[in-house]
Symmetry: C2
Subunit: 769 residues, 2 copies
């Protein structure tokens, strides 16, 4: 017993064994020892990771909270079968989607639920379930070889990759914390020595390439080791998690299986605090984009909350000016009206605020700041955590405290210092539907980034007006390469032509080379949302192509002047050499009409690389008027593009699907506005969500564009002046300064006898004829 | 005044003017006159068409009915702008979708609403609005030439086709009835002489080809003339509506602009009662299918209700064993779980129970039978009529009387006598989702029919598992041929290969010739839904191809034996000559995997006619095993086909879109199972809705088929015996008698040493290995 106590203290306080030996030898120090022991016991009060003793008390004694009660009932029901059927801890064999993979995932999820249920209900059977499962894992773990599926840069033992093993530990640490008081010392010793410490060591010292970089995989690794360190009260593990392993200098820049460099960033630092320092921009933007941020928020928030409970002096939620909570809000802003994340980079479409990771993030954030707007998000999620924060959310909702979550137009800077471009989001209302425009002028976004400088996507409510393809993948669906990224993700989805941005000479930005792309970013030029009816973003890109500079300005107009909001898209390219300029509009479906004659052809493959090898040209047209107009129909809504055209311009209607032997790509349609053999070009396009249709009344509303014509008056590196005429003959003139973004500057341009004069970057004038 | 009274009686009773003159001359007859006058007044009590004096009283004095109050508020709001802005009765100019067309549509709709509002609220301004609008119409109507758009077999004057003109009169008659008491005799005379009678005559005696056949156009014509006859108390018009014009013998079989023959059927009879006799089968099925039935139900129900109020002795709702109400229920059965009509024939997808026509039908039916199940439909519709039946529905809902509407599996016979084939619907539940199978072995369905003998479509909840393409059209959308049928409707949508049924030698049924197709129908062979877990339909077709007979049997299995319902599709063709047999499966999207090697190719056009000219082959595979298995993904669900294959079988993956210069067709995908150079063939296929996927949890459920193999044991004209083995190695053997559908017959077949013996048409045996 004394030995155990001794070991216990050793583990608990990370004492130097030599010093400890001295203590044991000097019985005069017994009183000190007891004091320390008491402190240790106090410090180790369980639960104190995500659940806390006080939190559990509050839940048990608090008022009604139907959503929380539902969460308890759901959890009971979810694990009921496993509880009755018995523990299953199979020898690891399958990759993602396969049986053993899914079973081990279920196991950590169920252990976590059972641990929470034990705390909330007091029913011992739940604790026993966790204990039994841990016993089985402890019996096999140390002897497990590396996982037989060899497809990861860092294979796990239970899973094919360390990442899943870290997930396992994050949840298992919570389960252990929750049932800690039910376990005998012997059991704890068994678990800690034969399971937890080995897993934690495996994920860190044995896999530094997994653990020791700035990357979402490592965040999971850090949180896993740190949370288990907190649960075991193992300072060494906690410190390893917070500060990383000692950095190896001059490590090779190998690539991981997400395509990112190992040791790409953060070679100077590692560990959880370094993740926080590097992963987020000062605005809470995560350089890989919201799909990955959502996933990464879980270890950030869970480990942070655990630290908040156990190491309050660290003030983790105040770290970097409260960056973690900023990250939660940044994540919420990066969604369409349905709450689905904008699918930039390697994102799967359909992932939304309703996902578990965001439920955790929103619940934990609400537990900290009690922002009633977060309750609206929780209402949409309709599910809460099984902890005190989840209870608080459920109570808040039950008490009617929710306020609408206001998603503002916002510019989220990229880069740890906020100086690596940005993601700009403009929003305005069309009746009850929100028109949202997501403009990407950020950094590459690490290994999951796409070659999509100055690309944007546009939403009309939940409908994609101009889509971002997202990634070519079916996560967890075995039929499609075991649920992993498909090769078309690289050959199509990442390529520039798969996005709504300029392709020069049929080549992707940076030649499609990640190593180059990742060293550059676009530059914000102007962001102004003061006038809600004329919101503007402008950004520049000068590295994507060697001899071509680009500037794109998006102006979202609304208000009485327009029957529905219009997006003005002004894309300029400057080059000293002649190029072919392709501007794709990914409208997906379904062509309705064009103002140019369509020459349809048998589908022909458009190129050999940079994504063009996946495109079929289905039709083209030579634009012989000053404007190109194109109307399409999607989800019972009608959209139009009206663009300025010049002699020689070509419109190509294309469809994705060429060179796709396994039918991995969606057969979506796109329009390409092509300008051949040009040096400096300006694409001036107006995109509108003007109409809708009801298949029940069979009546269309506003099936035609409200734009009669668009016209460039003057365009050079310094200024762009253009007009938009609507069907009522009202003419809107926009004057824009391309090189001076000082709000006080006075600009004066004379052109064809007309003097244009304005102050600041942009102005708009309207006149009726 | 006396003159007016006199005229009034003349009009009202259809008196012989000569006789009337005598009355006037003989003052002794004054008392008689007063008696008659009183009767006339009584007979003409207004409103009495759709609204009735009693109904209005009941509405005004009845209890709360929120949905009705909402309908009143909606109606007020809908016409508020027009009420303030003033009447607009433009000179007719545009076709469907254009301004004058839509304005005249709005006008009759608003007049009807205003009339109802006047009755319900008592506010005179609504009556005045109707009066003013009628005044404008009366001022121009007689002098209007035929509509300038010459695209209909029966041009209207206000509209490009008489059909819309009849719509106008159906609603205007209600408006007139509602405001009748507010009008001076002079006003009535003006309207009746200069507007109503001229429109009624125009639609009937001046357009017999429109008025005098058995066709939904004529039903509108009959109802229009009849309802205005009732409103004006004009027996001659009423009789004309009920019994038609005298039949012209030997009229030419010209085609109307829907492709149907003028005077196709009903040359022996015409008028409303003939419509009822011919339009519906004894089960209430309407041979053109639910999309057209929905449209046709409005004149049937409105005129019938008007007759019910005015000519109760006619007992119109008891006519033909209560066929009109049977029609309402038949219509409700022909919907998927979302309440959308099965899009057979020239149907637009998305048309649903929520449409105004079905609201009318359901409200009127409820007003007559008070079936609480109808209230569930009304709840889904969330809108009620502005009459007493609508009020009754709203009251019923408010009082919580609604009961679930049970959509049973049902066979709806086709043909006026019920002997022209049928439409069979099988339904079963998969959790909360309904698997529905619609099997079409009916008559051609008049001019809107498709060449789709023995075709079926399948639904999983609201998702199409195997689709019916529907029609190639965007109703009312000007961009697409003015909203009319597109030429691809004929060249693609109607063709056999556009359906899930057998195509022999690349030719459509009946060679795609309507004149031949319309003289034939398929034959029901067996329909049995007694066992809810083994529901069966079998039907035969012997006319679609000259030398090939077909039989198709669909078996929908559910229950503990299956993890999800399976549909067994047994399609046999018998011929003495060799043919190419193509069986398309219109899965739409997205290919996941096949058990055969895919050879993808550049899209190549599959043929020159019968719809093949619109198909691109994208890949093919030669089946070298006994089974073909194919899995796809649609709306986050996973589906599979497992089919028996024989040496030489080919699988073709195709996509719609070839020879479609205006992008009128959807680019949906299909699988074609092809058997070359065969005489007798059997296609045995199992279709399953086995899996689903959540983009939020990113977890698939049951991504793989539960079927291991299917195998034909024995097949000839007399018997078909086959087995289906599932992944648990349970083998299900089905024995089917193809020629003897007597439930008492005992069948005994010996094959390869095994004796198969059963009673009745079909039996199933299961064994585990």
């Amino acid at each position: 017993m004394f030995y155990e106590l001794n070991m216990f203290i050793t583990k608990a306080q990370g004492f130097n064994p030599a010093w400890q030996n001295k203590i044991i030898k000097h019985t005069t120090y017994i009183s000190l020892l007891l004091l320390i022991w008491t402190t240790a016991i106090f410090a180790q009060s369980h639960p104190n990771l995500i659940l806390t003793t006080e939190g559990v008390k509050a839940i048990k004694s608090g008022g009604d909270a139907p959503l929380f009660e539902q969460a308890v009932a759901d959890a009971k029901s979810e694990i009921a079968y496993s509880l009755a059927e018995g523990i299953k801890v199979p020898i690891p064999k399958d990759a993602g989607g396969g049986y053993t993979h899914e079973q081990h995932k279920r196991n950590y999820k169920y252990m976590n639920l059972a641990g929470n249920l034990y705390q909330i209900t007091g029913e011992k059977m739940y604790a026993k379930y966790v204990k039994n499962m841990l016993t089985e894992y402890a019996a096999i773990y140390k002897d497990l070889p590396l996982h037989p599926v060899d497809k990861s840069y860092s294979r796990g033992k239970l899973f094919w990759q360390c990442l899943n093993e870290a997930n396992w530990l994050v949840y298992t640490s919570q389960a252990y914390d929750a049932v800690y008081d039910c376990l005998s010392k012997k059991e704890r010793k068994n678990f800690e020595e034969n399971l937890f410490r080995p897993v934690a060591d495996f994920l860190s010292v044995e896999n530094p390439r997994f653990f020791n970089r700035v990357h979402n995989h490592s965040t999971w690794g850090n949180a896993a080791v740190g949370m288990m360190g907190l649960a075991m009260n193992d300072e060494e593990l906690i410190n390893r998690a917070l500060y990383g392993l000692p950095i190896k200098e001059g490590a090779n820049l190998e690539k991981d299986n997400d395509g990112g460099f190992i040791y790409e960033k953060g070679t100077a630092k590692a560990g959880f605090l370094a993740q926080i320092d590097h992963a987020f921009s000062p605005d809470g933007y995560y350089t890989e984009g919201p799909y990955y941020q959502r996933y990464a928020m879980t270890p950030f928030m869970l480990f942070a909350l655990s630290l908040h409970h156990n190491k309050p002096d660290l003030k983790i939620f105040e770290y970097r000016d409260g960056i973690l909570l900023k990250g939660v809000y940044a994540l919420l802003y990066q969604t369409n009206q349905a709450g689905e994340f904008f699918p930039i980079n390697d994102a799967m479409k359909g992932m939304s605020l309703a996902t578990g990771a965001v439920i955790s993030a929103v619940n934990i954030a609400y537990g900290l700041n009690e922002d009633p707007q977060l309750l609206s998000v929780a209402k949409l999620q309709n599910k809460v955590l099984l902890d005190h924060s989840g209870y608080a959310v459920a109570r808040g909702l039950h008490e009617g405290k929710a306020q609408p979550f206001f998603k503002k137009s916002v510019e989220l800077r990229d880069g740890a210092k906020g100086d690596e471009g940005a993601l700009g989001i403009l929003r305005t209302l069309k009746g009850e539907e929100e028109i949202a425009v997501l403009f990407k002028y950020a950094a590459q976004g690490l290994g999951h980034g796409h070659f999509d400088k100055l690309s944007y996507s546009m939403y009309d409510g939940n409908t994609e007006v101009l889509q971002d393809y997202g990634s070519a993948r079916w996560v967890n669906i075995d039929h499609k390469a075991g649920g992993r990224y498909l090769k078309e993700n690289k050959t199509w989805a990442k390529q520039t032509v798969a996005h709504n941005t300029l392709v020069v000479d049929g080549k992707s930005h940076f030649g499609g080379k990640y190593d180059i792309a990742t060293t550059h970013h676009s530059d914000p030029y102007f962001f102004d949302i003061k006038n809600a009816n004329v919101q503007i973003i402008s950004a520049k890109e000068s590295n994507a192509y060697e001899d071509t500079d680009m500037q794109r300005t998006l102006i979202l107009c609304n208000g009485d002047d327009f029957s529905s909001p219009i997006l003005i898209d002004v894309l300029a390219a400057f080059s000293e050499n002649e190029h072919q300029y392709d501007l794709p509009f990914h409208y997906a479906e379904h062509f309705m009409r064009s103002n140019f004659e369509l020459n349809t052809n048998l589908p022909k493959v458009m190129g050999e690389k940079h994504g063009y090898q996946h495109l079929y040209q289905e039709a083209n047209g030579n634009i012989d008027s000053d404007n190109l107009q194109f109307t399409w129909f999607n989800e019972n809504k009608l959209y139009s593009i009206t663009a300025q055209a010049a002699a020689g311009d070509e419109a190509i209607i294309a469809r994705i699907g060429a060179n796709d032997p396994n039918f991995n790509l969606r057969r979506d349609a796109l329009l390409i506005h092509r300008k051949n053999k040009a040096k400096n070009v300006l694409f001036l396009s107006v995109i509108e969500a003007h109409g809708k249709y009801s298949p029940v009344t069979e009546l269309p509303e506003n099936p035609y564009s409200q734009i009669k014509s668009v016209k460039v008056i003057l365009h050079n590196k310094k200024y762009t002046i253009f007009t938009i005429k609507d069907i009522h003959n009202t003419q809107h003139t926009f004057m824009f300064s391309n090189q001076d973004n000082n709000a006080e500057s006075i600009h004066k341009v004379e052109h064809e006898g007309v003097v244009y004069e304005w102050t600041g970057v942009v102005t708009r004038a309207s006149s009726s004829q």
